[in-house]
Every structure is written in structure tokens, then in C-alpha cells.
């Protein structure tokens, strides 16, 4: 079950002036800053901003737009051409979030795992590797491909077990091609009711800025934080950040 948006974190925080100094750390020349694995956004040490790391697996059939979504969320150039992803590729995305109750700011570090379907089929170690220590799974379908929508429930049951402690979100891609849409509004509503999972819509120009990706990234952050809080309270640790290895990395 997912957490209602805005119940734990400040939604649309990127629109508020007090977020500017945090978002400026993930931007460079009005575009998204690229981070190497040895880097992270730098905040003045006295501000004491923790980085919390999560692994997110992007699942969906070939061509639905997994690689494009990873690029979109990271603000990288969009793959114009469809090339098969013939192995696992990960993309790191930093995202600042303000917790509602305490007012505390955290940098979420999502590592998005993307693996082509044929690689999963041909090599046995791919899927287990994507699922190792995974915190969240994004299930993708494309608004232009009815089959990918119909296959969603299959996909969810195939990849996850009910005992898994993972956040699950559904993302519909290519929403910009609404002229060709194969999936209607009522299909979407019906699915959300049956599965209790929210569906996010993405598509269109990447240059649309943070507003376009904020709802999805905020929902990821909120649900992951909630999941950690639940786990922490069951083992009675006061803050989930303590569960997460935080700043072993270098700051830029």
C-alpha cells in the first residue's frame, strides 16, 4: 500500500523558495549536474544534511521506455533511438526532500537499475542481481502499447513475492503520445483501485524541468522513507537514516 502524497514530505517542495539552495546542488548551468560514483551534492557541514541511499529497479518489457525513464529522472540526454540495453545499467539520481514533521532536509540518492529484457532472458544472473537488496521497483507500461498495460499484473506477481519488503510504483510512459493512446483513463483508475498502487504518467520533452519528474521522485522518497520508518519502529531504532549507510563518499 502506498502513502498518500504529501503526508510525510513537503510535496512540490521544488517550487518553494527555501528549497532553492538544495536544488541548486543538483543543477549546473540550468541543467542537471552529473555525478560520478565518488561524488555527491555538497552542503555546508553545519547544515548536517544526510544522504540516504536506495536501490530502485525499473521493470518492463522491451521498448516501453525504461532507459528513457532513467535518463529522464537523471536529466540526461534522452535516447532518441531505441537501442537494446544488453546488460544492467545503473543511473544515480540525487533528490532533496523536506520532511513535513521535523522540517529536516534529506538528500535521497536513488540508484536506478535498468536491464534489457533479452539480457534477463539470456543470462540467469541478471534478474537476481537487479533484485539483490532492492528497495523499490518501478513497473512500467507504455500508454501506446495496450499489451504492456495488460501484462502489468503478471509482471508484478512474477517479479515480487508478497513477503518482499519493497516499494512498488507503476509508471505509464509515452503519455505525450496521447493521440495514439491505447490505455484509457478508466483503465488506469480501475487498476489503481484493484492493486492499490498509484500510477504515474511521464512523457514528452525532458527540458520540462523538475516539475515533470517531481511527483514520481517525491512519491518514491516518501514511500521509501515510510517503509524504513516502519522497519525501524519494529526493531526500535529511532531514525531510519541510522539504518542507511550515509556519507562514506566524497563530496564535490
Amino acid at each position: 500500500m502506498s502513502v498518500p502524497p504529501g503526508s510525510i514530505i513537503v510535496s512540490d517542495w521544488h517550487r518553494f523558495p527555501d528549497s532553492r539552495e538544495f536544488f541548486s546542488r543538483i543543477l549546473h548551468n540550468k541543467k542537471r549536474r552529473k555525478f560520478g560514483l565518488l561524488e555527491a551534492p555538497m552542503m555546508p557541514p553545519h547544515m548536517n544534511v544526510d544522504i540516504v541511499r536506495y536501490k530502485v529497479f525499473i521493470s518492463g518489457k522491451t521498448g516501453v521506455g525504461k532507459s528513457a525513464l532513467a535518463a529522464r529522472l537523471a536529466g540526461l540526454d534522452f535516447p532518441k533511438m531505441h537501442y537494446e540495453t544488453t546488460g544492467i545499467e545503473t543511473t544515480v539520481v540525487f533528490w532533496p526532500v523536506r520532511l513535513k514533521e521535523s522540517g529536516r532536509v534529506l538528500f535521497f540518492r536513488f540508484e536506478l537499475w535498468d536491464c534489457g529484457e533479452s539480457a534477463i532472458r539470456r543470462f540467469d544472473h541478471m534478474l537476481p542481481s537487479c533484485k539483490e537488496q532492492v528497495d523499490a521497483i518501478l513497473f512500467l507500461f507504455s500508454f501506446t502499447d495496450r499489451g504492456s498495460f495488460d501484462d502489468l499484473s503478471n509482471q508484478i506477481t512474477r517479479i515480487t513475492e508478497s513477503s518482499d519488503r519493497v516499494v512498488k510504483l507503476v509508471v505509464g510512459t509515452k503519455f505525450d503520445l496521447f493521440m495514439h493512446t491505447d490505455v484509457t483513463e478508466s483503465d488506469v483508475t480501475h487498476f489503481q483501485e484493484v492493486w492499490g498502487l498509484p500510477i504515474f504518467r511521464v512523457g514528452g520533452d525532458v527540458s520540462a524541468g523538475l516539475g515533470e519528474i517531481a511527483p514520481l521522485l517525491n512519491a518514491l522518497a516518501e514511500n521509501l522513507w515510510h517503509q524504513d520508518c516502519m522497519a525501524a519502529s519494529s526493531v526500535s531504532i529511532s531514525t531510519p537514516a541510522a539504518l542507511r549507510e550515509t556519507d562514506s563518499e566524497i563530496i564535490v
Binding site: L37, L38, M81, Y83, E84, E89, T90, E249
Partner: protein, 426 residues
């Protein structure tokens, strides 16, 4: 992107001539022409002749290659674009084949039971093939696809990074590790050079470069010579934007483990060193301690033993007198360098490497008449002067200003060679 319009690559089954894919040129060749290209090759084969290449008087060229007796690759370049030599096209075919093996493995390619399935699987290779097609007229100074030597970046102070790479590689349960900066090899473990073939090193560099957007990756790869039927894993990590470290390994460690347990441990203390590599790479593939004469327009230096190469194409000329003619565009200089390399290799230096590729056919009679191997050659054109020299260890190809007197070319070339090797140990 002129190349995309003038260069086309076709792949067919060699026995029945069924088209499997075509890449490159936006305008596809008509089916009838593809059929004829296959037909003439078959006709030759039926008469015991192997058709390898042909050329029109307007500069168009076709090169054929059959691999593993199962697939035929045909490269077609049309006149009007930048000049592409026959050597370059046949190397292109070899590289494309090697990339196909790299991604799919030899069994998949040799096994023709199901053509439709093979067509589908071959799509996985498009990213690398398209990159190789772009490299034919590359303007960033990559030459490995032509020279079959790894494109390198020479660092001034590399001892520390070598140690870091060696211990990281070992911790990842591997002996094959490599550090790349913007697609050029800056450092590699001993086995990377000694046990991988140069073709493998070249296609692996291309693969890592093609993944440059990712933070890390785990790619199953087949090594065209070393492991064509059993996949091993290429793990690659983007330490800083533009800096990748990669290892070839077996089932362990998992990508997650390697990234979370090894990257920080082995590399976090080297952030500043890596940053200075990036800084150097911005200016040159040579360390700042090497200063070239201002009248050198471009150069390609090859270490023949380790099959490494460094290409230099200065962006500005420092120290040039005010009356000096402006530099040619870097795209043009690199094109000239590729042409001069091909010229010198096929006519004079004639190394085994080039003849193995069976690329050299028509222009060979001349050098066959020699009983000795030429070690130096030069060429004067209306754009620049070129000088090539080879020793048992090195080959140097140099493009110089027209203002350099022809009699001085040799001195400049030998001095340049010793200046670079003395400063870098290359």
C-alpha cells in the same frame, strides 16, 4: 554526420543471402542492389575467386567480408563524402563482427536455424555498430578502429593510479582491469595488455564508451578471441563524469557488492588524482611535460609491442609566429592522418597486421618488389607534409605545416618521437 549519409553496412546470411539488417545511411539501398552485391560475391565464390572489394571512378567503394562461414558483411561507401580507404572499410567489417560476437557470442551467430530469431537478437548490436560507423569519420581523435590499437591517454604521474587499479582489480576477483578517461585508456593492468587481443581491447573500449551515461553497469560479453562461446562479465563504474574503471570477471562479485564495497574503499582517496587526469585530458592526450613544436598539425604514435596508440590533434597552436597559416580544422587533420596512416601502412610499412586483415590487395604489387622493409616515408600534399617512421617498437605518423622544409621532416619526426617516449616511457 556526413558519414551517416554516405556509408552503409549490410549484413546477410552468407549461404542464402537473406538480408539480416542494414545500418548507416538514412536512404537504404534498394533490395535489388543488395541482391546484386550478394550475387556477384556468390558468383566469384562459385568460380573459386574471393571478391573482396571494388571501387568506382567516382570514389565509391564496396568491401565484402564473410565471417565464420555464416554471415556476410558488406560496407558500401558512396563518393562525395570524406575519403574512406579500403583498409578502413575492411577494418570496419572486422570490428563490426567483433562487436557482434562481443554481444551475442559466436554460437548465436554461427547457428542459423532460425533467421527471424537471429534478426531479433542482432538488434542488441545496433548501438555498438552505429558507434563504429560514426567512428569512421570521428572528430574526437579515436583511431583504434583503424589501427587496431587501444586509444590511450598518457598521464604524467601514473604510478599511484596503477597501484589503485591493480588492487581494485584483484579485490574484484579479476586480473583484467582498465581505467578510461573520456573513452581513452589511461591505465590498465598488465594482463589487460598481454592477454587480451588488440581487437578485443578496441571493442571493449568502444563498449565502455557507449555506456558513458550510466553510473555503473554489468554487461555480459564474449571475447572474440579469448572466450567466443562463454560469456564473462564486464563491470564498469563511472567514478567521476568521464572517468570509468572497468574489470572483466566471473560470477562474483555482484554489481551491487562491487559498487558498495569496493568503489569507495579503493578509489575515494584518488579523487584528486582522477580530477587532474580529467583536467589533462581537456588539453591533450600527452602530459604537459611534453611540448610539441607549433608546426606539428597532428600525430599518431603507436607502440607496436603493447598495441597501444596515442593520437594528438592540437586545438590551438601555441608559440606560432604571427604569419603562420591557420590550423586546418581538427576533423580534416584527423581525416588526413587516417589517410596517411593507411598510405604508409599499405605501401611501405606493410606490417603483418595489415595483411592478416586481408585488406591489401590491389596496391600491393609495388611493395612486394622490395626485399627490405622501409622504415621511413614522407608525403607532401598541398595541405600539409606527412612523415612516417617505424622502429621495432614504435610507429609514428606525423602531419606538419607546409612551412617546414622537406629536408627537416626527418629530424622533426625523430626528435618528436624521442621527446614523447623519453617523457612518458610509452
Amino acid at each position: 554526420m556526413l558519414q551517416a549519409e554516405t556509408l552503409q553496412l549490410l549484413c546477410l546470411t552468407s549461404t542464402s543471402g537473406v538480408p539480416l539488417f542494414s545500418r548507416g545511411s538514412a536512404k537504404q539501398l534498394p533490395f535489388s542492389i543488395i541482391g546484386s552485391l550478394n550475387g556477384v560475391h556468390m558468383f566469384g565464390a562459385g568460380h573459386g575467386a574471393q571478391l573482396m572489394s571494388c571501387e568506382t571512378d567516382r570514389g565509391s567503394r564496396v568491401v565484402w567480408g564473410v565471417f565464420q562461414e555464416s554471415l556476410m558483411l558488406i560496407a558500401v561507401s558512396c563518393g562525395g563524402g570524406p575519403a574512406i580507404s579500403e583498409l578502413q572499410l575492411s577494418r570496419l567489417l572486422e570490428n563490426v563482427w567483433n562487436c557482434m560476437v562481443l554481444v551475442l557470442g559466436q554460437d548465436e551467430l554461427a547457428n542459423m536455424r532460425n533467421v527471424e530469431r537471429l534478426k531479433r537478437e542482432l538488434r542488441s548490436c545496433y548501438r555498438l555498430i552505429d558507434l563504429l560507423l560514426e567512428r569512421v569519420s570521428d572528430e574526437q581523435g579515436f583511431m583504434g578502429d583503424l589501427t587496431q590499437c587501444a586509444d590511450c591517454l598518457l598521464l604524467s604521474n601514473s604510478g599511484l593510479l596503477q597501484e589503485a587499479l591493480d588492487s581494485f582489480t584483484q579485490a574484484a576477483e579479476s586480473e583484467f582491469g582498465c581505467l578510461l578517461v573520456h573513452g581513452r585508456v589511461a591505465q590498465a593492468t598488465e594482463k589487460w595488455w598481454s592477454r587480451l587481443s588488440s581487437q578485443e581491447v578496441v571493442v571493449l573500449s568502444v563498449l565502455v564508451h557507449s555506456l558513458s551515461g550510466a553510473s555503473s553497469c554489468d554487461y555480459p560479453v564474449f571475447l572474440p578471441q579469448g572466450s567466443p562461446t562463454v560469456a564473462i562479465r564486464l563491470l564498469s563504474f563511472q567514478l567521476l563524469p568521464g572517468v570509468h574503471v572497468c574489470v572483466l570477471c566471473g560470477p562474483k562479485p555482484s554489481l551491487y557488492k562491487a559498487e558498495n564495497e569496493l568503489i569507495g574503499r579503493f578509489w575515494s582517496t584518488f579523487v584528486e588524482n582522477l580530477r587532474s587526469c580529467l583536467e589533462q585530458a581537456k588539453h591533450s592526450t600527452l602530459p604537459p611535460s611534453v611540448s610539441l613544436r607549433w608546426d606539428i598539425q597532428a600525430l599518431l604514435l603507436i607502440n607496436r609491442e603493447s598495441r597501444r596508440a596515442v593520437t594528438v590533434c592540437p586545438r590551438v597552436r601555441s608559440g606560432a609566429p604571427s604569419e603562420a597559416t591557420p590550423l586546418l580544422s581538427s576533423g580534416r587533420r584527423l581525416e588526413l592522418l587516417r589517410l596517411f596512416y593507411t598510405f604508409a601502412m599499405t605501401r611501405y610499412f606493410n606490417p603483418q597486421e595489415a595483411s592478416v586483415s586481408s585488406a591489401l590487395t590491389t596496391s600491393e604489387d609495388f611493395s612486394q618488389g622490395f626485399t627490405h622493409v622501409p622504415v621511413q616515408c614522407y608525403l607532401v600534399t598541398d595541405e600539409c607534409k606527412c612523415y612516417g617512421l617505424q622502429s621495432s617498437q614504435h610507429q609514428l605518423f606525423l602531419l606538419m605545416d607546409l612551412s617546414v622544409p622537406t629536408f627537416a621532416l626527418r629530424t622533426v619526426a625523430t626528435q618528436t618521437l624521442s621527446a614523447i617516449t623519453a617523457a612518458t616511457g610509452f
